[in-house]
Structures are given as structure tokens and as C-alpha cells.
């Protein structure tokens, strides 16, 4: 099931950079409505210095926020999305991909790397929401399988940080099948006893939630995350139900036993280091 990500501002205090705003010096915070100096926000881990609202992070920003300085080595597979269906909507999928690549400077939505956190070697995979909603197609499936393979080989913990609207419609059934593919990968970690820490950030929904993201040994939700399978509008239209105020927030997920902890962005790095301390092993140690 695909979740529309167009209405995110309604229910959490996060705001995606708008196209064209990329170069702006000032950005408007969706939390307090104030114009804040972009650089101040960057330095502040993507948190509004006035009201504490979280801005979207790019994959690079997320990585920088988590890993030991200069420890990240990008080992993503050099692959890009194919267009197996010849999909055309408002524009051809190939065009949409090019646009996303230009806008983000990324080849695709998933970045995989070797890194250290508090000295612990890990394999880290991060999805970038700016790239077609961080949605999962064949590339994300392959990147995650690749990342897990490395983690299993090195016996290093695997950390996945998701920001994704779910499956990527434009690759049709192949996107759906990535749900199974990522779970088969997750099984490799079980076989070798390597921990998998799933970090859900805004948003973690649809087919990614219903596959690898939900299968962490430890699952951490970033405060402000949207976590849910079906989209709000779909639920309202299908069932006519009124949605509770906290619906599909990180706190909702916590209250309903879906995640181990809800963690502030500022605490996320130290939280992960704390978790890693419990797991011995890793070839370098």
C-alpha cells in the first residue's frame, strides 16, 4: 500500500525544503511559522532554534549527525533505478528520476556506508525522502540487501534509518517484491547473530514499515516521526473513522508496542552508541 506524503505538514512539525528554496538563506519553519536562518538550522541538527520543530534531513545530514567524524565511507552499490514498466504518469518515470538525481545530488534514494559510532564499526543505510519520497523500488531493495550482506560478512551491526513513503508505485510489482527481498536479507543477520537496529524517522510508512523496518532487533523512533501502514486519507475514506489526535505518531507507535523507544534527534547518536555497547563482536574489536 502506498502512502501519500503530500499532507505531512498537517500532523507533524517537519517541513520539506521546497523546490526552488534550495538556495534560500532563510526558511520558514512549519512549527512556529517564523523565518529562520537556514544555516542556523543546519548547525542545529535540522532543529528549529526557535521552537524545536524538526526539519527534514537529507541522507548526508542524517549521516553526519550520527557517525564519528570522518568515519563514513560510502559503499553504496553503483546502481540506479531502471524503468521496467515504462511507467508514465505526469511525466515519464525516467524523467522523474533524473529530476530527483539533480535535486538531491544522489544517484538514488538509499545511501549505504561503513561507519563508526562511538568507535563501534557499523554498516549504516539511510534513505533520503527528497528522492521520490524515499520510496522503495528495486534499487532500495538491492542496496539494503547489499548493506545487510556486508554487515553479515563483517559481523558488524546494521543500522537502517528510514524516511520513506513506502513502496515506489512507478516500479509496480517489483517494488512490492522488495518487501520480501529485504526480509530475506534481514534473515541473513539472524543466521550470523548480527544485530539490526531499525531507526524510524519521519515518515516510515507503507511497504517499508510492513517489511524490514518492522523487524529490528531494537527499534527506535525519532520523536516527530510518522509511523503507520495506511495513509490517513485512505483510512478516513475507507472506514469513515475519525482519527485520534496522536494517530501514527512516534508516541502512538510506542503506546501500541511497535517501537522500543522514542528518542529526540539530539539524543539519537548517543542512544545508538549506548545500544551498540551491548553487542560484542565486530571484526575490529
Amino acid at each position: 500500500m502506498k502512502v501519500s506524503w503530500f499532507r505531512r505538514q498537517q500532523y507533524v512539525q517537519v517541513r520539506l525544503d521546497q523546490k526552488g528554496e534550495e538556495g534560500a538563506l532563510w526558511v520558514k519553519c512549519a512549527g512556529c511559522g517564523d523565518l529562520v536562518f537556514r544555516e542556523r538550522v543546519r548547525e542545529n541538527q535540522g532543529i528549529c532554534p526557535r521552537c524545536g520543530a524538526y526539519f527534514f534531513l537529507t541522507a548526508q545530514e542524517r549521516i553526519a549527525l550520527l557517525v564519528d567524524e570522518n568515519s563514513f565511507q560510502d559503499v553504496s552499490k553503483p546502481i540506479v533505478a531502471a524503468d521496467p514498466l515504462g511507467f508514465v504518469d505526469r511525466q515519464p518515470y525516467v524523467g522523474r528520476l533524473k529530476e530527483a538525481q539533480q535535486k538531491t545530488g544522489l544517484r538514488n534514494e538509499t545511501v549505504v556506508g561503513r561507519a563508526r559510532l562511538g568507535g563501534h564499526p557499523v554498516i549504516l543505510a539511510v534513505t533520503d525522502f527528497r528522492f521520490i519520497g524515499g520510496s522503495m523500488g528495486s534499487v532500495m531493495g538491492e542496496q539494503l540487501a547489499h548493506a545487510v550482506g556486508m554487515a553479515a560478512h563483517e559481523l558488524w551491526p546494521f543500522i537502517l534509518v528510514t524516511s520513506t513513503g513506502g513502496a515506489r508505485m512507478q516500479e509496480g510489482i517489483f517494488s512490492l517484491m522488495q518487501m520480501v527481498k529485504t526480509v530475506t536479507a534481514r534473515r541473513e543477520l539472524e543466521r550470523v547473530g548480527v544485530p539490526f537496529i531499525s531507526v524510524m524517522t519521519y515518515p516510515t510508512t507503507g511497504g517499508v514499515l510492513a517489511s524490514i523496518a518492522s523487524l529490528g532487533d531494537i527499534t527506535i523512533a525519532e520523536k516527530g516521526a510518522l509511523i503507520g501502514f495506511a495513509g490517513r486519507r485512505v483510512i478516513e475514506q475507507t472506514t469513515g473513522e475519525k482519527l485520534p489526535a496522536e494517530f501514527q505518531t512516534a508516541e502512538f507507535a510506542f503506546d501500541h508496542g511497535m517501537v522500543d523507544r522514542v528518542v529526540e534527534r539530539r539524543e539519537l547518536r548517543s542512544e545508538l552508541v549506548r545500544v551498540l555497547e551491548f553487542f560484542p563482536g565486530g571484526r575490529d574489536r
Binding site: T184, R187, A210, H256, M258
Partner: protein, 320 residues
């Protein structure tokens, strides 16, 4: 609205646009091109929407219909042992071709009241947890597992989210990858996204000829892409969701022939055809070492996906 109606309507609009362009001398080339492309896409994929309609036909045989026709006694089991019994998924023991099998399937309901009670086959978390429980029962006794998929999707509701529907589907996929007993999956009607896949991880995946299987419903896709659910036929064509599409794409293993006109015109014929295919695949799988099935099943799905700029990832046949 049939695809034919839609095409006729678009062609009328197209003629009008061309007339305006000619008469007023305005450059409407992009609009005309877009419309022409839509018509082309629809004409090319007109089978897609027709098959979606057939897959949803109100008289189409359901899981329980096929069980009645195919199985020599179906003993339904109930409950997830966790607090619920979700009737959108049925499951139990059955005798098939003289042997015991475990069957799990979505059940839409065969009349209005039943459809409501079963939420038209839209299962909640309890449904997937019941399915897991019953499939594990099958594994304990070495019974092969047959799953029949027929759902518009998992139930989108508050209670479903409260009980972690995402996690339930993930767990079910995970559980099916671990089962040490043969699994044959057949999409008999609607194969609606994660709700379908939740019981869809098999050593073999078959589709009835007029079934569809898609990452998103055509309506949902149209709503997201064009903000217009009525453009579902186009979305259906774009999504390549028919049985033959999926066979071409290497995602399923076989298309099961239906009687001319569709399964609802001759349920017995459809059941014979499905039964023959299930039996054949189960026979092939029976020869395999149970302990090896999970690894083969895993590598089958592990190999699905098409990327560029790297060693091409092709579909490896599991279990052959």
C-alpha cells in the same frame, strides 16, 4: 465506465482540441500529445482494466468456493490466540489429492452481510497472525501449504494501525520465509499490495488468468498521480498488473487458465484448472528436501528486482 467508453471520450476530446488548434491557430501540441499518449496507453493496456474488473466480479469464486470445489473436506480453524478471529482470512486443514494440506486464504464473502463481516477480504493484523499460526501448524506436521490471495489490500483502519498491521505483515513474510514445508501461492482474484503479499511468499506463485497483483490499487495510484480516481484504467495499464504481465516480468511462475468469460462463468472449470496447477506444483515440491526449502524460497525472492548500472539482478527460479 469501460475502457472503451473512456477511449471514446478521450478521442472526442482529442478531436475537439485539434479542431480548436486548427481553427484558432493556437499551439496545443503538448495537450494533444498528452491526450494521444493516454489513448495509446489505454488501448495498449485495455486488457488490464478489463481484467481488474473480472478479478473483482461479484460472482467470482472466492477462497471458500474453491475449497468446496477442490478439497475433500475443509476443516476450518479459527483465531490468532491473541484476542481475535479475523474472518477476512480463513484457514484450516484440508484433504487435497488424497493428502492433508493446510490452506490459508483471504475470504471476501459471498453475500452482502458476509462481505461486511469479512470486510471484503481486507484483513487486519489478527488475520495475518491467524494465518501465521495455522501455517506453523502445517509446518509442524509437514503438511504442504496452499495460500489463496484475494484482497483489495490490508484493512486500512484505526484498530488495524493500533495493533501494528505493518508489523503483522512483516512478521508474516518473515514467518513464511522460514517455513520448512512447501508453499504454493495462488492469486485467485485481487492481489492488493501488502495485504496480498502478507500470505504471498511461496516456493511457487501462480495467478489465475483474470487475477491482478499490484503494489497499489489502480484507483489509489490514479488518485496519487493525477488526483483523480476515475483515471484508474490508465493506472491499471501503467502498473502492468495482469497475470500475463507478471509472468513476463518474471515475478510469478505460472498463469492458470480460466474458462472463457472468466472464472465466474464456470466456477467448476476454474477450480479444475486451479486444482491441476496446484497439484502439479505440489508434486514437484514434494520431492525436495524440506530443510532446503527456506533457502531456495529466499533466493527466489532475493533475486527479484531490476536495476541499472550494475550487474543485472535477474529472477532466479527457486525450487527448480
Amino acid at each position: 465506465m469501460t475502457v472503451e467508453d473512456l477511449i471514446a471520450e478521450l478521442q472526442e476530446k482529442l478531436a475537439e482540441l485539434k479542431r480548436v488548434a486548427r481553427e484558432n491557430g493556437r499551439d496545443l501540441t503538448p495537450d494533444i500529445a498528452e491526450l494521444e499518449q493516454r489513448v495509446a496507453q489505454l488501448s495498449q493496456g485495455r486488457g488490464a482494466w478489463d481484467q481488474v474488473q473480472l478479478a473483482r466480479h461479484p460472482s467470482r469464486p472466492t477462497t471458500l468456493d474453491y475449497l468446496d470445489l477442490l478439497m475433500d473436506g475443509f476443516y476450518e480453524l479459527h483465531g490468532d490466540r491473541l484476542g481475535s478471529d479475523d474472518s477476512a482470512i480463513v484457514g484450516g486443514l484440508a484433504k487435497f489429492a488424497g493428502r492433508t494440506v493446510v490452506v490459508v486464504g483471504h475470504q471476501k464473502g459471498r453475500n452482502l452481510a458476509e462481505k461486511r463481516a469479512r470486510r471484503s477480504g481486507m484483513a487486519g493484523p489478527g488475520g495475518y497472525r491467524k494465518a501465521m499460526r495455522i501455517m506453523r501448524l502445517g509446518e509442524r506436521f509437514g503438511f504442504p501449504i496452499i495460500t489463496l490471495i484475494d484482497t483489495p489490500g490490508a484493512y486500512p483502519g484505526v484498530a488495524a494501525e493500533e495493533h501494528n498491521i505493518g508489523g503483522a505483515i512483516a512478521d508474516s513474510i518473515h514467518a513464511m520465509l522460514r517455513l520448512r514445508t512447501p508453499i504454493v501461492v495462488a492469486v485467485i482474484g485481487e492481489g492488493g499490495s501488502g495485504g496480498a503479499l502478507g500470505i504471498g511468499v511461496g516456493d511457487r506463485v501462480l495467478m489465475m488468468e483474470n487475477a491482478y497483483y499490484s503494489v497499489i490499487s489502480p484507483e489509489g495510484c490514479a488518485a496519487i498521480l493525477w488526483g483523480d480516481r476515475s483515471r484508474a484504467p490508465e493506472a491499471a495499464a501503467a502498473l502492468r498488473l495482469t497475470a500475463h504481465d507478471l509472468l513476463d516480468l518474471g515475478v510469478i511462475d505460472e498463469v492458470v487458465r480460466e474458462p472463457p468469460g472468466g472464472a465466474h462463468t464456470d466456477p467448476e472449470g476454474a477450480a479444475r484448472s486451479l486444482g491441476e496447477a496446484l497439484r502439479r506444483h505440489l508434486d514437484e515440491l514434494r520431492g525436495m528436501v524440506p530443510g532446503e526449502l527456506p533457502a531456495l524460497r529466499g533466493s527466489k525472492f532475493r533475486g527479484m528486482g531490476i536495476c541499472e548500472g550494475a550487474v543485472p539482478v535477474t529472477h532466479e527460479q527457486g525450487g527448480e
